[in-house]
Each structure stands twice: as structure tokens, then as C-alpha cells.
């Protein structure tokens, strides 16, 4: 072969050089691998000096291929591609070997690591010589953005974009935006009233000219790619004509049917069959709950219709579909709360005075079912003692191994509210106290001073079976106090379970719809856990808020803004580069069997009826290569991952067998070629 290959082995400080004899690998490559004309090792290849080294060699030595043995290509592939491009070499003529993540960091034997490195370099050298010049293409970016989820993260993202003058569609599943934050009473650690800071943002959304709010709607289907998504939204029938409704609320007043509000009031309060979740709802239009409406049940009633001053009620309304074209998508779909009945020993659902954190939020809320009074389930008795149980369904291998992040602070807030509104003693049963952001530790100190009792230990059981004097009629919290090393039984009137945040029940379905992935727990996976927390592996799809992992309000807001900023930069650039890793069908070999047509999940392969061959639509192809592997005629090539390139890589990785060193095995020449 006539290619001139340059090999660069990075020390990465001591990260690679500490386990791999880098100088030996470099030397070995030059002596043993065909085509290698330059082979060097250097302290930090990714530094500007390291990059200049490559650039200089390309110019002076006339390199036509470059191999960099360094970290994972996910980290620095772009860096080295850019270096090649700077020196006038097509960036796709560079190949990286992951010596750090796959070898030095995971090995314990220096000699073995060095040998493995040589093979990895051999594979890259063999492969890179078969690389072809590729050109990334650019596609325009539609400046309209879709935001899914109208909680605080989604609201923030939508407002940021709208304020920048861009069109936004905000899709919300519930009748009103606001999300969980609208249900809360106070926010920690400042004890700001949640509604007071949220509702102005909600009305900003309502009045923003650039935001099209689609509430009581869900995304049905997504297709397309970055810059050019087609989204189908189902607008569920409200049975209220939005263009006529003034939001006066007479229908709600007159509706004779009372329903337990399981969603907004967490089952503590009631709403009507035609309702807005809360008075400040945005949009202001109510929704008829078909399941519970007397008219839909029995065919008579229509009280709302009779009293509506603008004739906005429409019982015949059907679900409608909207087809949107957007350039980017921000997912801010939030969380579900852990189902506390899954831990029967805590008695939720069985013992009346065991409450969940969300129930307590509603109870504390002045506009909630008890008008802000902290009372037992009977609705009148004020508790004399309250237990707050941390980590219910979180930090628990049986349910969720992760820390739910906000419960410690919420528990402190609850403690403060109970002591402010009642004379009750408050006990917090915690495993570790984690007040870990700005002013949080200070809030913890404040609660210690206010006299909240802290017991370190996971609660074993909550029971109403009295065993000792003073326990009659109480709920007894059985716990091992790990700081004094003793079992304790703490009798209280009320228990609040700090249920964990969980991924939405349909998170995996949503992820699949948008072509992104979920972690094992079910949170959406970000592109990089440290450096790219709001982007996903799918270009053009961003995530913000708790759908990415448990976090508090400020963090959700930051992510909403961050995602919007990412989208804005794409809109400003106006176009986006698409990786040229796509499949191509060679017409002359294609038999027209159409096997590939059905394999492609992106419908990127069409059948040309005239020529009777299949054709790849490059804009839709994502380059997975499944069709390449499946074509019985071998008529499809996958750019940058061709059969020949992969065979060359296998050959390089098995060079020790093929060249017969160490194994005594002989190479069968015909087999190794091809």
C-alpha cells in the first residue's frame, strides 16, 4: 500500500504512560507495521503543541493517514480530526485507538498492556489505510422549537427562546402548565411562596406571542432529524371551545359532580367534573373529565352548557391532530412520585395519618384542601408530634438505588412549616443529611436551632400497635438510632413519608419516540454526564429538569435555560453539520429484494420502482449499518465502517496470531486476506 501513515502515541501524563510502555509501542509500530513512516510518543497529544506536531508532520512528511493512540474517540476524535483538517488532510483519514479507557486504566500488568496497545495500534493502522475521504454535509435548521412538558424547566426553556424572538410550541399533557412546582407551598431554603414565583412565569408563557401553548396534548409521533423534525401532536378533546371560553369559571361552579382530585390535590381534595386544576391555571380554559361527567355517563345534565355565557361547551368535540415542523426538541417531562404503598411496613394507605410528601405539600398550601392548616386525616385535629421519614423508595436497593436529591431539604422545609403553624414536636429520621447547595447547610443549621429533632437511622416500621405506656392511639416509629446504637420507638400523631422522585411511568416509551436512551433507572441519558448534561446522543433533542435525574428547582431552571441556549446557538448558526456516516447502495449489485427496506427503522430506504433497486435517503440515514450487515448481495456499503475496514481491524487485533509470534499458530494466508 502506498499510504504514508503517522502514528502518535499519547502519554496522557502518566495515565497511559504509567501502564503502557509508550516509547516501545511507538517504535514497534514504525518497525513492524506496513505504511508507517512517522511514529512518535508525546506527553499530551490533545494539547495545542501535540496537535501542532501532527499538523507539522502532515505538511513536512506528506502523511496521508493519521493514527492517534490516546483516549476514547468520544473525547478527542473531534480534536484530532480538526488538527488533520487544519493541515489540509481530510478529517476522516484519522483513526483513534483507545489506549487509555480500554487498556491503561483497566489493566494491571504492564507487559500485557503494552502488547495489547501494540495490537490496538496495528488495527488502527491497518484500518486507516482503507479510509476514504468523506465530507460532512450541512442542513438548514428550522428556527422553531418544540418544548415537551410545561413544568418549571419547560417553562424556562420556552421563555428563554421566546424572549430571543424564536417560535416555540409548548406541549403539556395536563390541562394546565406549572408541573409539580404549582402544587408546592413554599420553596426551600428561602421559603418563598412557590405559586408567587411560578405563576408570573406561567402568565408570561400565556401572553408571549412567540409561544404556542398546546395544553392537554401529547406528542404522538416524531420523525426527521436535527434541524428538521416532523412532530404529530394529539390535542385531547377538552369539550370546551378555546376560542369562545373566557375562563370565567361559572361552569365549574355549576357542575354538580364532585370528584377526588388524584393529580393536583394528590387525592386530598376535590374538583368538579369540568375543572381547571387550580385557579391560576394557564391556559385558563377548563376541561371536561369524560370519565366522571354526568352527561357522558347518563346522557343528561349539561349544566355547564346551560350556564356558559359564551356557549363555549362542545360535547361533540373530538381529539385533533396537529402536524408541526420544528428544528429542535427540548424534553422536560419531569417525574412521578414513588408509590409509597409499595413499602407496606410504613403503612401508607392503611394507617390514616401516614401522608406522602406531596399530600403534605398540598395540605400546607393556603389554597389547598385544608386551606393551609396542618391537620390529621380527620380534617380537624392538629398533630402534637410529627415524624418525617427520609429516603422512602430511594437509596434502597429494593426500589431505587439513587438519592432523590431534594428530600432532605424538603424535609427540613416541612419541619419548619409544622413548627411555624403548630406546636408539634418534629422528628426527622434520616440516613445522611444532604443539604448540599448554596444556603442549604445554613437552612439545616436553622432547623437545628429551631428545635427539630434528628434521629439518624432508616425507619424499620410504622405501626399503630401500642406496646408501651404513652403509645396508645399513636403511630409508633420503630427505628435504630445509629448514633446512640439503640432501638427506639417514637410515638407520633402524624407521619410524612418523603417518597422518591421516579422517572415517569412512560419514560422509556417517550425516549423511544424521540430516539434517545434511558439509564437503567429510567432517567433520560445525557450526552456527557459532566460536560454535556442537557444534550442527548440524538442531535437536536435536548433534556432539561428532573427527566434527566432528580434535582431541585434551581437546577431544573438552569437546565431549562441551558437547553434553550444550546438550541439558540443552532438557530443562530442556521445550519448544522451532519456526519457523513451513511449507507450507500450500489445499484449494479442490488437485486431489488427489499430486505433492507423493512430493516431500516428510520424509513431511510426507498424502493425505486423504475430501476427496481433500493435507494438510501442520506438525510434520513443515521448510519447504524444494519442494512449493510443484512444485504445478501453485499450491495450496501457503510461509510467509515465498511466490511473491509472492519476486517482490517480484526486482522490488526489478531496480528499476534497471524504473524505467529507466541502462539505457534500458523497463518492461513487466504483466510486472512479478503
Amino acid at each position: 500500500m502506498s499510504e504514508r501513515v503517522g502514528v502518535y502515541i499519547c502519554h496522557c501524563g502518566s495515565n497511559i504512560a504509567g501502564m503502557v510502555d509508550v516509547a516501545q509501542v511507538a517504535e514497534w509500530a514504525k518497525e513492524n507495521l506496513e505504511g508507517v513512516v512517522v511514529s512518535r510518543d508525546y506527553k499530551f497529544m490533545c494539547s495545542s503543541l501535540g496537535q501542532e506536531l501532527i499538523e507539522e508532520d502532515i505538511r513536512k512528511e506528506g502523511l496521508t493517514r493519521v493514527v492517534v493512540g490516546a483516549c476514547s474517540p468520544h473525547l478527542h476524535e473531534k480534536t484530532f480530526r480538526r488538527a488533520c483538517a487544519n493541515a489540509g488532510l481530510n478529517p476522516y483519514l484519522m483513526q483513534m485507538a483507545s489506549l487509555r479507557e480500554q487498556i491503561s486504566w483497566v489493566s494491571e500488568d504492564k507487559a500485557a498492556a503494552t502488547e495489547k496497545s501494540k495490537l490496538a495500534i496495528a488495527a488502527a493502522v491497518k484500518r486507516v489505510q482503507l479510509h476514504e475521504e468523506l465530507e460532512a454535509s450541512r442542513v438548514p435548521v428550522n428556527p422553531t422549537t418544540l418544548v415537551v412538558g410545561g413544568g418549571i424547566a419547560g417553562i424556562q426553556a420556552a421563555l428563554e427562546l421566546a424572549e430571543g424572538g424564536h417560535q416555540v410550541y409548548l406541549v403539556e399533557r395536563e390541562p394546565s402548565i406549572g408541573g409539580h412546582m404549582a402544587q408546592f407551598d413554599k420553596t426551600f431554603p428561602t421559603l418563598d411562596c412557590s405559586a408567587c414565583i411560578l405563576t408570573p412565569r406561567m402568565s408570561d408563557v400565556e401572553v408571549a406571542e412567540n409561544i404556542t401553548l398546546l395544553s392537554y396534548a401529547e406528542v404522538e409521533d416524531v420523525s426527521g432529524f436535527i434541524g428538521n423534525f416532523q412532530v404529530r401532536v394529539r390535542k385531547k378533546a377538552r369539550y370546551v371551545k378555546e376560542e369562545l371560553c373566557t375562563g370565567c369559571g361559572i361552569c365549574e361552579e355549576k357542575c354538580p359532580k364532585k370528584v377526588v382530585d388524584e393529580i393536583f390535590e394528590a387525592g386530598l381534595g376535590y374538583r368538579k367534573a369540568i375543572y381547571r386544576p387550580f385557579p391560576q391555571a394557564v391556559p385558563k380554559y377548563p376541561v371536561i373529565d369524560r370519565e366522571n361527567c354526568i352527561y357522558f355517563e347518563r346522557g343528561t345534565c349539561k349544566a355547564c352548557e346551560k350556564f356558559c355565557p359564551t356557549n363555549a361547551i362542545d360535547f361533540e368535540q373530538q381529539d385533533s391532530f396537529l402536524d408541526l415542523e420544528v428544528g429542535n426538541v427540548i424534553l422536560a417531562t419531569g417525574f412521578d412520585l414513588f408509590d409509597c404503598t409499595k413499602i407496606p411496613q410504613y403503612g401508607y394507605g392503611r394507617l390514616a395519618n401516614v401522608f406522602t410528601n406531596l399530600e403534605f405539600e398540598r395540605m400546607c398550601n393556603a389554597s389547598g384542601p385544608t386551606e393551609g392548616k396542618i391537620v390529621l386525616r380527620d380534617g380537624v385535629t392538629e398533630p402534637k408530634s410529627v415524624a418525617i421519614v427520609h429516603c422512602v423508595g430511594s437509596r434502597d436497593k429494593r426500589f431505587n438505588p439513587y438519592c432523590s436529591a431534594v428530600c432532605c431539604m424538603a424535609a427540613l422545609k416541612f419541619g419548619h412549616l409544622v413548627m411555624e403553624k403548630t406546636d408539634a414536636e418534629v422528628y426527622s429520621f434520616y440516613i445522611d443529611m444532604r443539604p448540599n447547595f448554596k444556603d442549604y447547610e445554613e437552612f439545616y443549621d436553622r432547623l437545628l436551632e429551631e428545635g427539630m429533632h434528628f434521629v439518624r437511622g432508616r425507619v424499620a416500621e410504622i405501626t399503630d400497635a401500642a406496646r408501651q405506656p404513652g403509645e396508645e392511639g399513636k403511630l409508633i416509629v420503630q427505628v435504630e438510632d445509629t448514633l446512640i446504637g439503640q432501638q427506639r420507638r417514637v410515638p407520633v400523631d402524624m407521619v410524612i413519608l418523603m417518597g422518591a422522585m421516579e422517572p415517569r411511568a412512560d419514560a422509556t416509551e417517550v425516549a423511544l419516540k424521540f430516539g434517545i436512551s434511558c439509564s437503567m433507572a429510567g432517567w433520560f441519558t445525557e450526552r456527557h454526564p459532566k460536560l454535556d448534561p442537557v444534550a442527548t446522543m440524538t442531535e437536536g433533542i435536548y433534556i432539561a429538569g428532573v427527566c434527566q435525574g432528580p434535582k431541585d428547582i434551581p437546577a431544573s431552571v438552569s437546565q431549562g435555560a441551558a437547553a434553550a441556549a444550546r438550541v439558540k446557538s443552532l438557530i443562530t448558526t442556521g445550519s448544522v453539520e451532519i456526519e457523513p456516516i451513511v449507507a450507500t447502495i450500489h445499484e449494479e449489485f442490488c437485486s431489488g429484494c427489499r430486505i433492507c427496506n423493512d430493516l431500516c427503522p428510520f424509513n431511510a430506504i426507498d424502493f425505486d420502482d423504475e430501476k427496481e433497486v433500493s435507494v438510501v435517503n442520506e438525510a434520513l440515514c443515521k448510519g447504524c449499518g444494519t442494512c449493510v450487515a443484512a444485504c445478501p448481495a453485499g450491495a450496501i456499503t457503510g461509510a467509515h465502517f465498511s466490511n473491509e475496514q472492519i476486517y482490517a481491524e480484526i486482522e490488526g487485533l489478531l496480528l499476534d496470531v497471524i504473524s505467529g509470534n507466541g502462539s505457534g499458530r500458523v497463518r492461513e494466508p487466504e483466510l486472512a486476506e479478503a
Binding site: E101, D109, S519, P601, G638, L653
Partner: protein
């Protein structure tokens, strides 16, 4: 002569989105695993043509691992299911060749499962160490009857195609 422990050579195909990142994570978390596995990045486990596996074995690998995203988590929506189906068919074929099931392994590893991938590698290396070398290249090249075998296939084929008078 001293007995050296057999060090199997394993080729692993890792999908770009989950498993390759799992390998990255295993590295970042400094999880140690045996150096016997040599890795190749493909965009998707669906890209793994059964030929790749046969080719690797024929070139001298003692085992092959195919690693992809968990079912339902594929970056390309559902292509790992295709890998799964191909794997099932290939295993069937390999069994007829006398290749033990443990030598070709399909492993799901999400980007968060560095530890699980490392554990799977450890297990596979140990299993193949028990099985011993596969030695396809040696067997095929040294019996010297390859030509003859190929001719006999041709002959049998012709016989089968003959139309009885």
C-alpha cells in the same frame, strides 16, 4: 517444560452508543479486567455481520463478544433486536461446526454499565480459558486436505443437481 496458562484472544464488537461508552466508563472508573479482549467499535450491534464473527474466529480469535444497548434502548430504536436474531441463527450454525456456545457471546451493556461489562468480560475470559484454544487457522491449514474437501463439495453438488434419466 513449564505449563503456561492459556490466554484466550477475544474480539469484541461494541456499539458506539451504549457498550463502547460502557467500556469508556469501565476505564474512567478504573475497573480492572483481563487484557484478553480486543475491542472494535461499530455504530450499532445491528452492524455486526455474522461474517465478522466467522472471520475473527477464522483469523485466530478464541471467542467473540457482541455488545449492544439493552433491548428497547437502542440508539437506532430497534436494531439490537436484529443483532439478537442474527446471533441466535449464528449460534445454531456454530453449534454444527462444533463451536461451543460460550465462545460467541451477546452482551447487553448500557452506557452506565461499565462494571457489568467488565464482569462479563472476566466471566467470558474464564469460560474460554476452560474451553481451551479454538485453533481454527491451525486446523484448517495443516490438514492439507482443503483442496480435496472443496472438490468433493463441488462433486456432491453436481451429483445432486443431476436429473435422473
Amino acid at each position: 517444560m513449564e505449563e503456561k496458562t492459556f490466554e484466550p484472544r477475544i474480539i469484541a464488537f461494541l456499539c458506539n452508543w451504549c457498550s463502547y461508552r460502557a467500556a469508556d466508563l469501565a476505564g474512567t472508573a478504573r475497573i480492572k479486567y483481563p487484557p484478553n479482549v480486543r475491542m472494535i467499535r461499530v455504530m450499532c450491534s445491528g452492524r455486526v455481520d455474522p461474517t465478522f464473527i466467522l472471520k475473527a474466529l477464522a483469523m485466530g480469535a478464541d471467542g467473540v463478544m457482541i455488545a449492544g444497548c439493552h433491548p428497547g434502548e437502542c440508539h437506532y430504536l430497534e436494531q439490537n433486536y436484529k443483532a439478537m436474531r442474527r446471533y441466535a441463527m449464528l449460534r445454531h450454525t456454530l453449534r454444527q461446526f462444533g463451536v461451543e456456545d460460550e465462545r460467541v457471546r451477546l452482551q447487553w451493556a448500557s452506557a452506565a454499565e461499565g462494571a457489568q461489562l467488565a464482569e462479563a468480560i472476566r466471566e467470558m475470559v474464564e469460560q474460554i480459558r476452560q474451553l481451551g484454544p479454538l485453533q481454527w487457522p491451525t486446523y484448517w491449514s495443516e490438514n492439507g486436505r482443503r483442496e480435496e474437501a472443496l472438490k468433493s463439495i463441488e462433486r456432491e453438488h453436481e451429483e445432486a443437481m443431476e436429473v435422473p434419466a
